[in-house]
Structures are given as C-alpha cells and as structure tokens.
C-alpha cells in the first residue's frame, strides 16, 4: 500500500495473492491500477494527534503521559523457529487490549513547549504541496515533495540509506522521539454542502525523530526533526524515512554536507522508486541484439586496427 500509494487493504491483499508473494510485482499491480483512478480533490490535512493508536512508543523518555503502548510487534521476541507452526499453520491475530485504543498527544510537543526543538512549518497551498503522482519530480524538491517520494520509495532502499547515515555516511544523531501506529480518519470538504465529511479511515505508521542540534553561542541550540509517514503497519519504513528525511534537510538547516549518498537529494529521490528501478534493471533481459551487433562490429574493427598496428 505504501509503495503503491494506494490505501486499500483488500486490493493490496489481492495484488500480493496475484503476484504469488512477490511484493514488488504486487506494488506494480497496485500502481498500474491506481493510474486508472481519477483524482477528485484534496482531503483535509490529517492530524495524527487524533489517531486511535494501537502502538505508540518513545525512546527518548522512560515514561510518557498515556504510557508506552507496545502493541503488535516482533520486538523483544526471541527469533527461534517455532516448529509447531509446521504442524498447525494458524497464527493468532493481534487482539488489542481494552484500554489500548486511545488518543495521545505527540511526545515532541513536550519538547516544543520548552522551545527546545524546531517547530514544524505547515504548508497549505497546492504550490507548497505538489502531487508527485500528477507532476514530474523536479530537483531541487521541497520537503513536502521529498516526503511524498520517500513514502513511495522502496522499503529496502530507504532502510539501506538510513543505515548508512547511522554508520557515518551523513550522520545525524537520531533518537526515536515517537513511533505510533493506528487508525485515523480522512476528511474531505464538499463545497456543495460546505462542511467536512469523513470519507475513509486509514491505518498509518508515523515516526518522529529528534536529532542533534544546531546553534551557536548566540543562537541557542535546538533539536531538529526527521519525519516518517507510511500507509499501513510499517514501522521499519517509517523510521528509515525519518532518518533519510533528516539527512536530506542539511541545506535548509544550514549544515555542511559530507557528500554522503543519503544527503544527495537527486541520488535518493531518483533511485528509491522500486517500480522504476525494477523495470529498468530487469529490462536488460529484453532483446538488445541490434545494439549488441553494432558493438560487435565496432570492437572487431578496433581490434583489427590494433593488431595491424602491432604487427607494424
């Protein structure tokens, strides 16, 4: 759903089934289907404070108002093959506890109250939030466009990019300020009736990182942010996205680039799309013999000239 840029769990399941478990192929099916859908307007910005969270954790504070809500996760499980599943193939569904479905204030807000973290700018106009699926990607891209490209990017690619920043290629000292997964409603304003109506409820994963600060003796230092937002339950990708978002922000934050791959907007945004990538990488198995024939002729000619020159 995330790479497919289409929130529809039923169609996503269908695509995975049809693609026989090949996820990139499934994403391809979803993208190709999405193309056929009209865009009929812009929804209201969603406020993730209003999320009904099933998972919500912060690594920056031991405890937070509302508590650390572990929810569905493989974290803290021991990765031992469970041979029982060979015999009895069913896996228990996650069942949320009764007290788990609630709304929480964002953890970064507590830092914001103290003015110790940068305030997020909000954009409202279409010019500030172009639609990547309707307009070509132009570099330099603003942050809204970059975030769109990142949330559509391949999870593995983002993971690798994010990992490279942790290992020193564009380091940005991240802490997971908050990670949350849950349901949020999408509202749409219908001009004819003049108010917002709820058109969908979607599951999303959101990650806000708190990164090391900027500042000087005269400008008090502040923590900076990275942001990750992904359709569905996909915290690995949300965290990766937040790290890469932060790495790409070096210019607007007045940092000096290390020249690391994750800081190179053109490199990251142009190569993260797995449908573009798989198409182009795999296309080399198509017939190319006309070009190859031309190469053959050329190399034979050059070799012949070289041999003759040697013989003298």
């Amino acid at each position: 759903m995330a790479e497919g840029s289409l929130f529809d769990p039923e169609l996503a399941s269908l695509a995975i089934k049809q693609a026989r478990g090949d996820l990139i192929e499934a994403i391809f099916l979803i993208r190709a289907y999405r193309t056929t859908l009209p865009r009929f307007g812009v929804g209201q910005p969603i406020n993730t404070d209003k999320m009904i969270a099933k998972r919500r954790i912060s690594a920056t504070f031991k405890d937070i108002p509302g508590g650390q809500l572990l929810g569905p996760t493989f974290d803290y499980t021991h990765r031992l093959l469970d041979f029982k599943l060979l015999a009895d193939g069913s896996i228990d569904e996650f069942e949320p506890g009764k007290d788990t479905e609630q709304m929480f204030q964002h953890v970064t807000q507590f830092l914001n109250n103290e003015g110790i973290i940068e305030t997020e700018e909000t954009s409202s106009s279409e010019a500030e939030s172009p639609d990547l699926t309707r307009q070509p990607l132009e570099i330099p891209a603003n942050r809204a466009l970059r975030l769109q490209a990142l949330t559509r990017s391949d999870e593995g690619f983002l993971l690798g990019m994010a990992y490279s920043t942790q290992r020193g290629f564009g380091r940005n000292h991240p802490f997971v300020g908050e990670l949350r997964i849950g349901l949020i409603s999408v509202e749409f304003e219908i001009p004819e009736i003049g108010f917002n109506i709820e058109i969908a409820e979607i599951e999303i994963s959101e990650c806000e990182t708190v990164n090391q600060f900027l500042g000087s003796k005269t400008h008090p230092p502040k923590f900076t942010r990275g942001y990750g937002f992904v359709f569905g339950q996909s915290e690995r990708k949300a965290i990766s996205m937040a790290l890469v978002d932060r790495a790409l922000r070096w210019k607007e934050l007045g940092e000096v680039s290390d020249g690391a791959p994750a800081q190179d907007e053109e490199f990251v945004l142009y190569h993260g799309d797995n449908i573009q990538a798989t198409g182009f990488v795999e296309h080399i198995k198509l017939p190319h013999y006309v070009d190859f024939q031309a190469e053959l002729e050329l190399i034979r000619k050059i070799r012949k000239t070289a041999f003759e020159a040697k013989k003298g």
Binding site: F61, D63, P65, Y76, H78, L80, Q105, R167, P221
Partner: protein, 278 residues
Amino acid sequence: MSNSEEDFNFAYLDEQTKRMIRRALIKALCIPGYQVPFASREMPMPYGWGTGGVQVTAACLQETDVLKVIDQGSDDTTNAVSIRKFFERVAGVKTTENTGKASVIQTRHRIPEQVLSEDQILVYQVPIPEPLRFLEPRETETRVMHALEEYGLMHVKLYEDISINGEISTAYAYPVKVNDRYIMDPSPTPKFDNPKMNFCPAIQLFGAGREQRIYAVPPYTKVISLDFEDYPFEASRAEKTCEICGATNTYLDEVVIDDKGTRMFSCSDSDYCNSQKS
C-alpha cells in the same frame, strides 16, 4: 524435531563459537582499548539490540554465575527483561537485580551507580565501536589512524565544538583514551558514567555484534576522557534530586507525567534507587 531448551547448548552458542569469542576477549584484554575483529554470529535477537553483548555474556557465563541485565540503567526495561529471560531459558543461570550480587552484568547505555568489585564482569552492548567513525566513515582509514596513533582529527573536532557552542557538545559516547594508547568509544553511556571506567576493579568487556568487534578494559586500567586544559571534562547530570529516593549524586531520568508537560526526575539506576529507599 522439537524446539525445546534441551536442543540448545549451554548459553545458546556452541563451544567452538564460545572459544573463538574467548580468544578475542583475551586478545582484547591484552591490548586495552584495541578493537579485535571477531566472527560475530546471528543471534535470535536483531542486530542493534545487543547481539554483541549477548555473545560476550554467553562466552563468559558459567553455571555458577549470577546474571544481571540492565538497559538505560534499569532492570525493568523491556530489552533488559527480554535478554535476562533469554539467558534464564538457554543457560538456566541464576539472575538478580541486585548489582552487588551479580557476577556478570550486561548493560546498555549505563554503568551501575554502585562501585563494582574485582569479581565482577561488566559487559557493554556496543552499537558503533569506532570512536573515529563519525569523523571518518571508512574502516580502512580508521584502522590506520589507530595503528599510527593519529588522533589529531578527534582533538580538532572537540576544539570545533568549543569554538561553535562554547563547550564540547558530546553528551554520550564521549571518547576516552585507554592506558595512554588507544582512543575508545565507551558505548553510548552518558558522559556522567565515564569516570567510573577509570581504574575500575571489575573487568569491562565490550561487544559489537553487527560491526564484529570486541574490545576490553582490564581491571585497574587508566581510562581518561578527552579534554583540554582550559576546558576540562565535566561529568554532567540533571541538577535535580531523585524524587523517589532523594539521591543527589546519581544520573536521573526525566519523565513527562501529564499533558501539560510537567516533569519528574528519578534515578535511572533502578536497583540503586531501591537500595537508597529502604
């Protein structure tokens, strides 16, 4: 085939692997602060969650050992509980939360407040063992810098911190020099803990699983935090008192307790805090 506990060797790893790790540990103890490469194994927890520490602990444990596991200083944090349960299951060793009663302590991000003794081993989980990594991302380069004791880059970094921010802006994983030779990463412990490493009576072992490195500080070894004469190292903490036990000399956690953002401070070392209360 079953997956019962009997199918695992004592402390999970097979004996050859333990021997390989013990050799690396001995080498590491002989060259304090030097990063010894070792053939890190896949463990049943993810890289970055303490696989290095778990392998070192597995190689050290004997059946008579008493194990304590802390994360962020506390025995009750999820990852600490998870690792403690792992060793209860695969090694059957006794575990404790009492710092004084433990023979092996595996830690992430803290050194216990209570002074350690000669018959204890402190095992650190290390994410990035290379203190020079963020100045030079390439391992081939940093190994040469260590070999030649070429540490100017690190001092320039600390100097730049002072010229920009007025102080050294490293609050955790603060670099140290071990035995007057190697610059070493103390793992991401707050710099408040750095002085505890100096001439510590216990053996300090560091395991980095993903990066495949082991290093060590033998007992009673000089461990100095890098600084300048006019900007001496300072072990900083929140200037508050623990609201649970009243301690004024410990490292404190800041906890947000309501939606207005009210904060409360309490000891990060849960065992020390409990011992002060009673």
